[in-house]
Symmetry: C2
Subunit: 230 residues, 2 copies
Amino acid sequence: MSYTYEYPRPALTVDCVVFGLQQNAALKVLLIRRKLDPFKGDWALPGGFVQISESVDAAAARELKEETGVDNAYLEQLYTFGQPDRDPRERVVSVAYYALVNLSEHTLQAATDASDARWFELSVVPPMGFDHRQILECAIARLRAKIRYEPIGFELLPKMFTLSQLQQLYEQILERDLDKRNFRAKLLKMDLLIDTQQKETGVAHRAAKLYRFDMNKYQSLKRKGFSFDL
Amino acid sequence: MSYTYEYPRPALTVDCVVFGLQQNAALKVLLIRRKLDPFKGDWALPGGFVQISESVDAAAARELKEETGVDNAYLEQLYTFGQPDRDPRERVVSVAYYALVNLSEHTLQAATDASDARWFELSVVPPMGFDHRQILECAIARLRAKIRYEPIGFELLPKMFTLSQLQQLYEQILERDLDKRNFRAKLLKMDLLIDTQQKETGVAHRAAKLYRFDMNKYQSLKRKGFSFDL
DNA sequence: CCGACTTAGTGTTAAAATCACACTAATGCA
DNA sequence: TGCATTAGTGTGATTTTAACACTAAGTCGG
């Protein structure tokens, strides 16, 4: 079967920058090892071709699941990369997305299927083919900017989390230290964290309270013009 | 001539939301009247197909110039619209851009070439085909958000402008009144406006000082972590 | 030429947000 | 039982924001 058009068309792909966070670990990004040329054997962002009958968003979600096992993650369009020479074979335009997953709840199993997917700390990502390095940088910049005015950081944490975990998350992404008392005061003042009345377990020190993020309340405040601002 | 591929490919287009501002007028958007089906005769965003050997950015700039005569405008990628049914004929994915032009310096002549391009105030944009209304809303939201933390508003003004013009611009885009003294104090404190030592002419009242935006200084401050913030 | 009209330009103060800073409380473990 | 480790808490100085009203300069019309 083949398809013919009057004018040449670029191929259209999606690529996903998947950020993941594990308890007491640095922020990581998920890469897969390429099985095919070009850049066969190199690490690259998961992605693939947009099917003719699916939306571009759906293509990103599908590729993410197929290639890494990550399902139902927070997924948002990032930017479209359209330089004519970004793929050495032929003209390929790629719509990039970024995803946020918490590794405590998504199994790393599926993600490492066939052991050709791996998490890399941001400071040690290997060289990647195409313009994937640039896409990654773009995603980091977006995440860093966005986390300051939208409560997307919670997507990287388990449903219940301690204030220290939340603070560490912000410190990692923003790459600077935050004052513990100021951070806690500010977040609690927004009144969007629900005290679950539960405590951490299995830690060799005073157990911290566990909170949940009140997404419903946030959504309704947002409609009234409230701005989450760190 | 025709082009054949093993799998079907969506067509790839660009669409441009062109914002323009004229002296003492409301913010406007530039639309063209469609000459072809679908939606023949309706108003729509200027745009067209991405050529196989040009970057997507270049395609946006080219289409903007071809269809509206606008050249050298500030042009930035907005979002990629990829719903399968957004074009009734066939699968078309569109990368949307937005442009900022000041109508004092770009001639409206070229833009109204063949009288099938017109500026519309945002409050009276006519119905548009495809998902162009959604694209426009997306662009307005982006402009409104971005103008608060990047000095892109200056792109809509002539090279020299008065503080009142600048304030009116912000008031229009943000859709709220700003306090004159606070606005002036804040902007002058940033020390990014250069007093040109010239004054307005041809006004029936006290002439205001004309300023220029110091883009070089801004760029260098930005590299050092300075944040333009209104 | 002068009075009326229109927009430019200018400071102060109260309230709120931000920032820096250090100790006690709870828990597991040796 | 005491040591190690992280949780949890308040205050004061500084900066930023927000509200507010008059004088200055210039044009125009009579």
